[in-house]
Symmetry: C2
Subunit: 280 residues, 2 copies
Amino acid sequence: MDLRAYRAERSPLAEAFLEGCLPPADQPPEALHGAMRHLVFPGGKRLRPLLTMASAEAVGGSAEQALPAAAAVELIHTYSLIHDDLPCMDDDAERRGRPSVHVAFGEAVAVLAGDALQALAFEVLARAADTHGPALAAAAALDLARAVGSAGLVGGQVDDLAFDPATLSNERIESVHERKSAALIAAAVVGGARLAGGSDPQLADLARFGFEVGIAFQIADDLLDEGEDDPCSSLTVLGREGAEKRAEWWLANALDRVESLGSPAEVLRELARFSVRRDT
Amino acid sequence: MDLRAYRAERSPLAEAFLEGCLPPADQPPEALHGAMRHLVFPGGKRLRPLLTMASAEAVGGSAEQALPAAAAVELIHTYSLIHDDLPCMDDDAERRGRPSVHVAFGEAVAVLAGDALQALAFEVLARAADTHGPALAAAAALDLARAVGSAGLVGGQVDDLAFDPATLSNERIESVHERKSAALIAAAVVGGARLAGGSDPQLADLARFGFEVGIAFQIADDLLDEGEDDPCSSLTVLGREGAEKRAEWWLANALDRVESLGSPAEVLRELARFSVRRDT
Protein backbone atom coordinates (compact mmCIF):
# COMPACT_ATOMS: atom_id res chain seq x y z
CA MET A 1 0.00 0.00 0.00
CA ASP A 2 1.44 3.37 -0.92
CA LEU A 3 1.49 6.22 1.54
CA ARG A 4 -1.37 8.14 -0.01
CA ALA A 5 -3.68 5.13 0.18
CA TYR A 6 -2.48 4.31 3.70
CA ARG A 7 -3.19 7.81 4.88
CA ALA A 8 -6.63 7.89 3.25
CA GLU A 9 -7.55 4.65 4.96
CA ARG A 10 -6.00 5.08 8.42
CA SER A 11 -6.37 8.80 9.11
CA PRO A 12 -10.15 8.57 9.61
CA LEU A 13 -9.57 5.97 12.35
CA ALA A 14 -7.35 8.37 14.26
CA GLU A 15 -9.69 11.32 13.65
CA ALA A 16 -12.69 9.42 14.96
CA PHE A 17 -10.79 8.21 18.01
CA LEU A 18 -9.48 11.70 18.78
CA GLU A 19 -12.97 13.11 18.36
CA GLY A 20 -14.22 10.66 20.96
CA CYS A 21 -11.44 11.62 23.40
CA LEU A 22 -12.18 15.34 23.49
CA PRO A 23 -15.19 16.69 25.40
CA PRO A 24 -17.74 18.42 23.11
CA ALA A 25 -17.14 22.15 22.61
CA ASP A 26 -20.61 22.95 23.96
CA GLN A 27 -19.98 21.12 27.24
CA PRO A 28 -19.00 23.50 30.09
CA PRO A 29 -16.54 25.04 30.53
CA GLU A 30 -17.14 25.84 26.85
CA ALA A 31 -14.16 28.20 26.47
CA LEU A 32 -11.80 25.51 27.77
CA HIS A 33 -13.21 22.75 25.59
CA GLY A 34 -13.27 25.07 22.56
CA ALA A 35 -9.65 25.99 23.17
CA MET A 36 -8.64 22.33 23.58
CA ARG A 37 -10.24 21.51 20.24
CA HIS A 38 -9.06 24.62 18.37
CA LEU A 39 -5.71 23.17 17.33
CA VAL A 40 -6.58 19.45 17.47
CA PHE A 41 -9.13 19.85 14.67
CA PRO A 42 -8.53 20.02 11.77
CA GLY A 43 -4.93 19.47 12.93
CA GLY A 44 -1.81 19.19 10.80
CA LYS A 45 -0.32 16.31 8.82
CA ARG A 46 -1.06 13.86 11.67
CA LEU A 47 2.39 12.43 11.12
CA ARG A 48 2.70 11.14 14.68
CA PRO A 49 -0.59 9.18 14.75
CA LEU A 50 0.27 7.71 11.34
CA LEU A 51 3.67 6.59 12.67
CA THR A 52 1.95 5.08 15.71
CA MET A 53 -0.49 3.07 13.61
CA ALA A 54 2.17 1.99 11.11
CA SER A 55 4.40 0.88 13.97
CA ALA A 56 1.68 -1.35 15.39
CA GLU A 57 1.25 -2.90 11.96
CA ALA A 58 5.01 -3.28 11.56
CA VAL A 59 5.04 -5.72 14.50
CA GLY A 60 2.02 -7.65 13.24
CA GLY A 61 -0.70 -5.75 15.10
CA SER A 62 -3.51 -3.54 13.83
CA ALA A 63 -3.92 0.21 13.47
CA GLU A 64 -6.92 -0.01 15.82
CA GLN A 65 -4.75 -1.39 18.61
CA ALA A 66 -2.52 1.67 18.33
CA LEU A 67 -5.29 4.28 18.65
CA PRO A 68 -4.94 5.20 22.36
CA ALA A 69 -1.21 5.83 21.88
CA ALA A 70 -1.81 7.67 18.60
CA ALA A 71 -4.33 9.98 20.27
CA ALA A 72 -2.24 10.51 23.40
CA VAL A 73 0.80 11.56 21.36
CA GLU A 74 -1.27 13.93 19.22
CA LEU A 75 -2.83 15.49 22.34
CA ILE A 76 0.66 16.04 23.80
CA HIS A 77 1.90 17.46 20.49
CA THR A 78 -1.03 19.89 20.45
CA TYR A 79 -0.54 21.00 24.06
CA SER A 80 3.14 21.66 23.34
CA LEU A 81 2.28 23.80 20.30
CA ILE A 82 -0.23 25.83 22.35
CA HIS A 83 2.33 26.52 25.07
CA ASP A 84 5.13 27.16 22.53
CA ASP A 85 3.01 29.83 20.86
CA LEU A 86 2.44 31.78 24.12
CA PRO A 87 3.72 35.37 24.29
CA CYS A 88 6.31 34.34 26.92
CA MET A 89 7.68 31.65 24.57
CA ASP A 90 7.77 32.01 20.78
CA ASP A 91 4.96 34.59 20.76
CA ASP A 92 3.30 33.31 17.59
CA ALA A 93 -0.06 34.82 16.75
CA GLU A 94 -0.80 32.26 14.05
CA ARG A 95 -0.59 28.51 13.73
CA ARG A 96 -1.55 26.61 10.58
CA GLY A 97 -3.09 29.74 9.10
CA ARG A 98 -5.45 30.35 12.05
CA PRO A 99 -5.13 32.45 15.19
CA SER A 100 -3.12 30.73 17.92
CA VAL A 101 -5.09 29.51 20.90
CA HIS A 102 -3.98 32.42 23.11
CA VAL A 103 -5.08 34.90 20.44
CA ALA A 104 -8.46 33.22 20.02
CA PHE A 105 -9.17 32.38 23.69
CA GLY A 106 -6.81 34.51 25.80
CA GLU A 107 -3.55 33.62 27.45
CA ALA A 108 -4.93 32.12 30.65
CA VAL A 109 -7.24 29.73 28.82
CA ALA A 110 -4.39 28.81 26.44
CA VAL A 111 -2.16 27.79 29.35
CA LEU A 112 -5.01 25.83 30.92
CA ALA A 113 -6.09 24.19 27.64
CA GLY A 114 -2.52 22.91 27.23
CA ASP A 115 -2.57 21.64 30.80
CA ALA A 116 -5.88 19.85 30.27
CA LEU A 117 -4.68 18.28 26.99
CA GLN A 118 -1.66 16.82 28.78
CA ALA A 119 -3.91 15.36 31.49
CA LEU A 120 -6.21 13.98 28.79
CA ALA A 121 -3.31 12.24 27.04
CA PHE A 122 -2.56 10.28 30.20
CA GLU A 123 -6.26 9.66 30.82
CA VAL A 124 -6.56 8.09 27.36
CA LEU A 125 -3.60 5.78 28.01
CA ALA A 126 -4.77 4.87 31.51
CA ARG A 127 -8.20 4.00 30.10
CA ALA A 128 -6.50 1.59 27.67
CA ALA A 129 -6.14 -0.73 30.68
CA ASP A 130 -9.72 -1.85 29.90
CA THR A 131 -9.00 -2.72 26.27
CA HIS A 132 -5.30 -3.64 26.25
CA GLY A 133 -4.77 -4.81 29.84
CA PRO A 134 -3.16 -2.76 32.60
CA ALA A 135 0.41 -3.90 31.92
CA LEU A 136 0.45 -2.44 28.39
CA ALA A 137 -1.43 0.68 29.50
CA ALA A 138 0.96 1.40 32.38
CA ALA A 139 4.00 0.74 30.18
CA ALA A 140 2.67 3.06 27.47
CA ALA A 141 2.01 5.78 30.07
CA LEU A 142 5.55 5.41 31.40
CA ASP A 143 7.05 5.64 27.89
CA LEU A 144 5.08 8.80 27.18
CA ALA A 145 5.72 10.45 30.56
CA ARG A 146 9.47 9.99 30.16
CA ALA A 147 9.39 11.33 26.61
CA VAL A 148 7.56 14.53 27.50
CA GLY A 149 9.10 15.49 30.86
CA SER A 150 12.23 17.37 31.83
CA ALA A 151 14.50 14.80 30.17
CA GLY A 152 12.51 15.00 26.92
CA LEU A 153 10.14 17.44 25.24
CA VAL A 154 10.03 20.07 28.00
CA GLY A 155 13.78 19.94 28.64
CA GLY A 156 14.46 20.40 24.93
CA GLN A 157 12.14 23.39 24.80
CA VAL A 158 13.92 25.02 27.76
CA ASP A 159 17.30 24.52 26.09
CA ASP A 160 15.97 25.82 22.78
CA LEU A 161 14.65 29.01 24.43
CA ALA A 162 17.93 29.55 26.29
CA PHE A 163 20.12 28.52 23.37
CA ASP A 164 23.41 30.34 23.49
CA PRO A 165 24.84 31.05 19.99
CA ALA A 166 28.27 31.47 21.63
CA THR A 167 28.43 27.73 22.34
CA LEU A 168 27.07 26.70 18.94
CA SER A 169 27.94 23.18 17.83
CA ASN A 170 26.15 20.51 15.87
CA GLU A 171 26.23 18.29 18.94
CA ARG A 172 24.40 20.89 21.06
CA ILE A 173 21.86 21.57 18.33
CA GLU A 174 21.12 17.89 17.85
CA SER A 175 20.81 17.45 21.62
CA VAL A 176 17.95 19.97 21.51
CA HIS A 177 16.45 18.32 18.41
CA GLU A 178 16.63 14.93 20.11
CA ARG A 179 14.62 16.09 23.11
CA LYS A 180 12.38 18.78 21.65
CA SER A 181 11.26 16.86 18.56
CA ALA A 182 12.61 13.34 18.44
CA ALA A 183 11.56 12.16 21.91
CA LEU A 184 7.85 12.54 21.09
CA ILE A 185 8.25 11.01 17.63
CA ALA A 186 10.03 8.06 19.23
CA ALA A 187 7.17 7.83 21.77
CA ALA A 188 4.69 7.82 18.88
CA VAL A 189 6.50 4.90 17.22
CA VAL A 190 7.09 2.93 20.43
CA GLY A 191 3.52 3.53 21.67
CA GLY A 192 1.96 1.82 18.66
CA ALA A 193 4.19 -1.25 18.82
CA ARG A 194 3.80 -1.38 22.61
CA LEU A 195 0.00 -1.48 22.49
CA ALA A 196 0.17 -4.05 19.68
CA GLY A 197 2.25 -6.37 21.87
CA GLY A 198 5.66 -5.82 20.22
CA SER A 199 8.58 -7.68 21.79
CA ASP A 200 11.26 -5.88 23.83
CA PRO A 201 13.88 -6.15 21.04
CA GLN A 202 11.34 -4.78 18.55
CA LEU A 203 10.49 -1.91 20.88
CA ALA A 204 14.18 -1.10 21.35
CA ASP A 205 14.78 -1.03 17.57
CA LEU A 206 11.67 1.06 17.02
CA ALA A 207 12.69 3.52 19.74
CA ARG A 208 16.03 4.12 18.01
CA PHE A 209 14.27 4.34 14.65
CA GLY A 210 11.89 6.93 16.09
CA PHE A 211 14.69 9.03 17.57
CA GLU A 212 16.64 8.99 14.33
CA VAL A 213 13.60 9.82 12.21
CA GLY A 214 12.79 12.57 14.69
CA ILE A 215 16.19 14.21 14.39
CA ALA A 216 16.07 13.97 10.59
CA PHE A 217 12.54 15.43 10.71
CA GLN A 218 13.73 18.40 12.75
CA ILE A 219 16.67 19.05 10.41
CA ALA A 220 14.16 18.99 7.53
CA ASP A 221 12.09 21.53 9.46
CA ASP A 222 15.17 23.70 9.90
CA LEU A 223 15.68 23.55 6.12
CA LEU A 224 12.08 24.66 5.52
CA ASP A 225 12.48 27.46 8.08
CA GLU A 226 15.69 28.78 6.49
CA GLY A 227 15.98 32.48 7.11
CA GLU A 228 14.08 32.42 10.40
CA ASP A 229 15.95 33.81 13.32
CA ASP A 230 16.57 30.71 15.43
CA PRO A 231 20.23 30.03 16.29
CA CYS A 232 19.32 26.46 17.25
CA SER A 233 19.03 25.35 13.63
CA SER A 234 21.15 22.72 11.91
CA LEU A 235 21.77 25.22 9.11
CA THR A 236 23.76 27.59 11.32
CA VAL A 237 26.54 25.02 11.71
CA LEU A 238 26.15 22.73 8.70
CA GLY A 239 24.84 25.07 6.01
CA ARG A 240 22.11 24.01 3.59
CA GLU A 241 23.94 21.23 1.79
CA GLY A 242 25.47 19.87 4.99
CA ALA A 243 22.09 19.82 6.72
CA GLU A 244 20.50 18.00 3.79
CA LYS A 245 23.23 15.35 3.96
CA ARG A 246 22.90 15.07 7.71
CA ALA A 247 19.13 14.53 7.50
CA GLU A 248 19.66 11.79 4.90
CA TRP A 249 22.32 10.22 7.15
CA TRP A 250 19.92 10.05 10.11
CA LEU A 251 17.18 8.72 7.85
CA ALA A 252 19.43 5.96 6.50
CA ASN A 253 20.35 4.97 10.06
CA ALA A 254 16.69 4.89 10.99
CA LEU A 255 15.74 2.73 8.02
CA ASP A 256 18.52 0.26 8.91
CA ARG A 257 17.07 -0.18 12.42
CA VAL A 258 13.82 -1.60 11.12
CA GLU A 259 15.18 -3.50 8.12
CA SER A 260 14.73 -6.75 10.02
CA LEU A 261 10.99 -6.15 10.44
CA GLY A 262 10.65 -6.80 6.69
CA SER A 263 7.63 -6.01 4.57
CA PRO A 264 5.15 -5.34 7.41
CA ALA A 265 7.33 -2.29 8.20
CA GLU A 266 7.27 -0.94 4.63
CA VAL A 267 4.67 1.77 5.37
CA LEU A 268 6.60 2.76 8.48
CA ARG A 269 9.72 3.21 6.33
CA GLU A 270 7.71 5.18 3.75
CA LEU A 271 6.45 7.45 6.53
CA ALA A 272 10.02 7.99 7.70
CA ARG A 273 11.11 8.99 4.19
CA PHE A 274 8.13 11.31 3.89
CA SER A 275 8.83 12.91 7.30
CA VAL A 276 12.25 13.92 6.09
CA ARG A 277 11.73 14.61 2.38
CA ARG A 278 8.10 15.90 2.54
CA ASP A 279 7.78 14.97 -1.10
CA THR A 280 4.44 13.21 -1.35
CA MET B 1 -1.64 8.72 67.55
CA ASP B 2 -2.37 12.46 67.56
CA LEU B 3 -1.95 14.55 64.45
CA ARG B 4 1.28 16.19 65.54
CA ALA B 5 2.95 12.84 66.17
CA TYR B 6 1.54 11.41 62.93
CA ARG B 7 2.86 14.33 60.94
CA ALA B 8 6.29 14.14 62.61
CA GLU B 9 6.55 10.46 61.76
CA ARG B 10 5.02 10.29 58.27
CA SER B 11 6.07 13.59 56.69
CA PRO B 12 9.73 12.53 56.35
CA LEU B 13 8.61 9.50 54.32
CA ALA B 14 6.83 11.74 51.81
CA GLU B 15 9.70 14.25 51.75
CA ALA B 16 12.26 11.54 51.01
CA PHE B 17 10.10 10.00 48.31
CA LEU B 18 9.46 13.38 46.65
CA GLU B 19 13.16 14.16 46.82
CA GLY B 20 13.86 10.93 44.94
CA CYS B 21 11.27 11.78 42.26
CA LEU B 22 12.71 15.15 41.27
CA PRO B 23 15.87 15.39 39.16
CA PRO B 24 18.76 17.11 41.01
CA ALA B 25 18.89 20.88 40.55
CA ASP B 26 22.42 20.64 39.14
CA GLN B 27 21.37 18.23 36.39
CA PRO B 28 20.80 19.96 33.02
CA PRO B 29 18.68 21.78 32.15
CA GLU B 30 19.51 23.35 35.53
CA ALA B 31 17.04 26.26 35.25
CA LEU B 32 14.18 23.83 34.60
CA HIS B 33 15.09 21.48 37.42
CA GLY B 34 15.67 24.40 39.79
CA ALA B 35 12.27 25.83 38.88
CA MET B 36 10.57 22.45 39.36
CA ARG B 37 12.07 22.18 42.86
CA HIS B 38 11.54 25.83 43.85
CA LEU B 39 8.01 25.36 45.15
CA VAL B 40 8.13 21.63 45.94
CA PHE B 41 10.78 22.19 48.63
CA PRO B 42 10.29 23.21 51.39
CA GLY B 43 6.63 23.07 50.32
CA GLY B 44 3.57 23.93 52.38
CA LYS B 45 1.60 21.97 54.95
CA ARG B 46 1.78 18.79 52.83
CA LEU B 47 -1.88 18.24 53.62
CA ARG B 48 -2.50 16.20 50.48
CA PRO B 49 0.35 13.69 50.98
CA LEU B 50 -0.69 13.28 54.63
CA LEU B 51 -4.27 12.55 53.53
CA THR B 52 -2.94 10.03 50.99
CA MET B 53 -0.88 8.18 53.59
CA ALA B 54 -3.64 8.27 56.22
CA SER B 55 -6.12 6.96 53.67
CA ALA B 56 -3.89 3.97 52.91
CA GLU B 57 -3.70 3.25 56.63
CA ALA B 58 -7.46 3.71 57.01
CA VAL B 59 -8.02 0.67 54.77
CA GLY B 60 -5.39 -1.44 56.54
CA GLY B 61 -2.39 -0.59 54.34
CA SER B 62 0.82 1.26 55.10
CA ALA B 63 1.92 4.84 54.52
CA GLU B 64 4.77 3.48 52.39
CA GLN B 65 2.32 1.89 49.96
CA ALA B 66 0.74 5.30 49.42
CA LEU B 67 3.93 7.15 48.53
CA PRO B 68 3.67 7.20 44.70
CA ALA B 69 0.15 8.62 44.91
CA ALA B 70 1.17 11.06 47.66
CA ALA B 71 4.05 12.35 45.54
CA ALA B 72 2.03 12.48 42.32
CA VAL B 73 -0.70 14.56 43.95
CA GLU B 74 1.83 16.94 45.50
CA LEU B 75 3.57 17.37 42.11
CA ILE B 76 0.23 18.20 40.49
CA HIS B 77 -0.63 20.61 43.31
CA THR B 78 2.71 22.36 42.82
CA TYR B 79 2.35 22.62 39.03
CA SER B 80 -1.12 24.12 39.47
CA LEU B 81 0.21 26.74 41.91
CA ILE B 82 3.02 27.68 39.49
CA HIS B 83 0.56 28.15 36.61
CA ASP B 84 -2.00 29.94 38.86
CA ASP B 85 0.65 32.48 39.86
CA LEU B 86 1.49 33.42 36.25
CA PRO B 87 0.92 37.03 35.14
CA CYS B 88 -1.87 35.90 32.79
CA MET B 89 -3.67 34.18 35.70
CA ASP B 90 -3.61 35.48 39.30
CA ASP B 91 -0.36 37.41 38.75
CA ASP B 92 1.09 36.65 42.18
CA ALA B 93 4.72 37.66 42.69
CA GLU B 94 5.03 35.75 45.96
CA ARG B 95 4.09 32.30 47.18
CA ARG B 96 4.74 31.09 50.71
CA GLY B 97 6.90 34.14 51.42
CA ARG B 98 9.24 33.53 48.49
CA PRO B 99 9.27 34.81 44.90
CA SER B 100 6.89 32.87 42.64
CA VAL B 101 8.52 30.61 40.09
CA HIS B 102 7.95 33.04 37.19
CA VAL B 103 9.56 35.84 39.20
CA ALA B 104 12.57 33.70 40.11
CA PHE B 105 13.01 31.86 36.79
CA GLY B 106 11.06 33.82 34.17
CA GLU B 107 7.64 33.19 32.72
CA ALA B 108 8.62 30.71 30.01
CA VAL B 109 10.49 28.46 32.44
CA ALA B 110 7.57 28.70 34.90
CA VAL B 111 5.11 27.45 32.27
CA LEU B 112 7.50 24.66 31.31
CA ALA B 113 8.33 23.70 34.91
CA GLY B 114 4.60 23.27 35.54
CA ASP B 115 4.31 21.17 32.39
CA ALA B 116 7.22 18.96 33.44
CA LEU B 117 5.82 18.51 36.98
CA GLN B 118 2.54 17.27 35.53
CA ALA B 119 4.39 14.77 33.32
CA LEU B 120 6.46 13.69 36.33
CA ALA B 121 3.32 13.03 38.39
CA PHE B 122 2.14 10.52 35.78
CA GLU B 123 5.63 9.08 35.43
CA VAL B 124 5.71 8.38 39.18
CA LEU B 125 2.35 6.60 39.05
CA ALA B 126 3.25 4.63 35.91
CA ARG B 127 6.47 3.52 37.58
CA ALA B 128 4.40 2.15 40.48
CA ALA B 129 3.54 -0.74 38.15
CA ASP B 130 6.85 -2.28 39.27
CA THR B 131 6.07 -2.08 42.99
CA HIS B 132 2.27 -2.25 43.13
CA GLY B 133 1.44 -4.13 39.94
CA PRO B 134 0.18 -2.57 36.71
CA ALA B 135 -3.52 -2.80 37.56
CA LEU B 136 -3.22 -0.53 40.62
CA ALA B 137 -0.79 1.80 38.82
CA ALA B 138 -3.07 2.23 35.80
CA ALA B 139 -6.13 2.73 38.01
CA ALA B 140 -4.31 5.34 40.10
CA ALA B 141 -3.20 7.16 36.93
CA LEU B 142 -6.78 7.16 35.64
CA ASP B 143 -8.13 8.54 38.95
CA LEU B 144 -5.57 11.33 38.89
CA ALA B 145 -5.96 12.19 35.20
CA ARG B 146 -9.73 12.57 35.61
CA ALA B 147 -9.30 14.70 38.72
CA VAL B 148 -6.91 17.17 37.11
CA GLY B 149 -8.33 17.55 33.58
CA SER B 150 -11.06 19.69 32.09
CA ALA B 151 -13.73 18.09 34.29
CA GLY B 152 -11.66 18.70 37.43
CA LEU B 153 -8.83 20.98 38.51
CA VAL B 154 -8.29 22.78 35.19
CA GLY B 155 -12.00 23.21 34.51
CA GLY B 156 -12.50 24.70 37.98
CA GLN B 157 -9.65 27.12 37.42
CA VAL B 158 -11.15 28.29 34.10
CA ASP B 159 -14.53 28.89 35.75
CA ASP B 160 -12.89 30.67 38.68
CA LEU B 161 -11.03 33.05 36.32
CA ALA B 162 -14.17 33.74 34.29
CA PHE B 163 -16.45 33.89 37.33
CA ASP B 164 -19.34 36.23 36.70
CA PRO B 165 -20.52 38.05 39.86
CA ALA B 166 -23.82 38.71 38.10
CA THR B 167 -24.73 35.02 38.34
CA LEU B 168 -23.52 34.59 41.89
CA SER B 169 -25.02 31.67 43.82
CA ASN B 170 -23.74 29.28 46.42
CA GLU B 171 -24.29 26.42 44.00
CA ARG B 172 -22.07 28.02 41.36
CA ILE B 173 -19.38 28.86 43.90
CA GLU B 174 -19.34 25.35 45.28
CA SER B 175 -19.22 23.93 41.74
CA VAL B 176 -15.93 25.80 41.29
CA HIS B 177 -14.69 24.71 44.75
CA GLU B 178 -15.57 21.11 43.94
CA ARG B 179 -13.45 21.07 40.80
CA LYS B 180 -10.70 23.58 41.60
CA SER B 181 -9.89 22.30 45.10
CA ALA B 182 -11.90 19.24 46.05
CA ALA B 183 -11.16 17.05 43.01
CA LEU B 184 -7.43 16.92 43.79
CA ILE B 185 -8.04 16.40 47.53
CA ALA B 186 -10.38 13.53 46.65
CA ALA B 187 -7.69 12.15 44.32
CA ALA B 188 -5.19 12.36 47.19
CA VAL B 189 -7.48 10.36 49.46
CA VAL B 190 -8.50 7.81 46.82
CA GLY B 191 -4.92 7.38 45.58
CA GLY B 192 -3.65 6.21 48.96
CA ALA B 193 -6.42 3.68 49.51
CA ARG B 194 -6.17 2.56 45.88
CA LEU B 195 -2.45 1.75 46.11
CA ALA B 196 -3.04 0.04 49.47
CA GLY B 197 -5.57 -2.31 47.86
CA GLY B 198 -8.76 -0.74 49.25
CA SER B 199 -12.05 -2.33 48.11
CA ASP B 200 -14.37 -0.61 45.63
CA PRO B 201 -16.94 0.33 48.32
CA GLN B 202 -14.12 1.75 50.47
CA LEU B 203 -12.79 3.76 47.50
CA ALA B 204 -16.27 5.11 46.76
CA ASP B 205 -16.75 6.23 50.40
CA LEU B 206 -13.29 7.76 50.48
CA ALA B 207 -13.88 9.61 47.21
CA ARG B 208 -17.00 11.25 48.66
CA PHE B 209 -15.16 11.94 51.91
CA GLY B 210 -12.36 13.61 49.92
CA PHE B 211 -14.73 15.77 47.90
CA GLU B 212 -16.58 16.90 51.01
CA VAL B 213 -13.39 17.62 52.94
CA GLY B 214 -12.13 19.48 49.87
CA ILE B 215 -15.14 21.77 49.66
CA ALA B 216 -14.98 22.45 53.40
CA PHE B 217 -11.23 23.12 53.01
CA GLN B 218 -11.89 25.68 50.28
CA ILE B 219 -14.57 27.44 52.31
CA ALA B 220 -12.08 27.61 55.18
CA ASP B 221 -9.59 29.14 52.72
CA ASP B 222 -12.21 31.69 51.68
CA LEU B 223 -12.65 32.58 55.36
CA LEU B 224 -8.88 33.08 55.77
CA ASP B 225 -8.79 35.20 52.58
CA GLU B 226 -11.65 37.46 53.73
CA GLY B 227 -11.25 40.88 52.22
CA GLU B 228 -9.45 39.64 49.09
CA ASP B 229 -11.09 40.60 45.86
CA ASP B 230 -12.39 37.24 44.57
CA PRO B 231 -16.12 37.09 43.80
CA CYS B 232 -15.92 33.28 43.77
CA SER B 233 -15.77 33.08 47.58
CA SER B 234 -18.31 31.40 49.84
CA LEU B 235 -18.38 34.60 51.92
CA THR B 236 -19.92 36.67 49.15
CA VAL B 237 -23.15 34.68 49.33
CA LEU B 238 -23.15 33.18 52.82
CA GLY B 239 -21.35 35.79 54.89
CA ARG B 240 -18.80 34.87 57.55
CA GLU B 241 -21.09 33.03 59.94
CA GLY B 242 -22.92 31.23 57.14
CA ALA B 243 -19.67 30.11 55.56
CA GLU B 244 -18.38 28.80 58.90
CA LYS B 245 -21.55 26.77 59.33
CA ARG B 246 -21.39 25.51 55.76
CA ALA B 247 -17.80 24.33 56.19
CA GLU B 248 -18.77 22.46 59.37
CA TRP B 249 -21.73 20.92 57.53
CA TRP B 250 -19.49 19.58 54.74
CA LEU B 251 -17.01 18.36 57.34
CA ALA B 252 -19.71 16.51 59.28
CA ASN B 253 -20.90 14.85 56.07
CA ALA B 254 -17.34 13.84 55.25
CA LEU B 255 -16.74 12.34 58.70
CA ASP B 256 -19.94 10.30 58.38
CA ARG B 257 -18.71 8.75 55.13
CA VAL B 258 -15.75 7.10 56.81
CA GLU B 259 -17.38 6.30 60.16
CA SER B 260 -17.61 2.66 59.14
CA LEU B 261 -13.84 2.41 58.67
CA GLY B 262 -13.53 2.65 62.47
CA SER B 263 -10.38 3.34 64.42
CA PRO B 264 -7.88 2.80 61.53
CA ALA B 265 -9.44 5.94 59.98
CA GLU B 266 -9.06 8.07 63.10
CA VAL B 267 -6.01 9.96 61.78
CA LEU B 268 -7.78 10.53 58.47
CA ARG B 269 -10.70 12.07 60.36
CA GLU B 270 -8.31 14.19 62.42
CA LEU B 271 -6.70 15.43 59.20
CA ALA B 272 -10.11 16.33 57.83
CA ARG B 273 -10.90 18.36 60.97
CA PHE B 274 -7.53 20.06 60.75
CA SER B 275 -7.99 20.87 57.04
CA VAL B 276 -11.11 22.79 57.86
CA ARG B 277 -10.37 24.27 61.30
CA ARG B 278 -6.59 24.78 60.91
CA ASP B 279 -6.36 24.72 64.69
CA THR B 280 -3.44 22.44 65.47
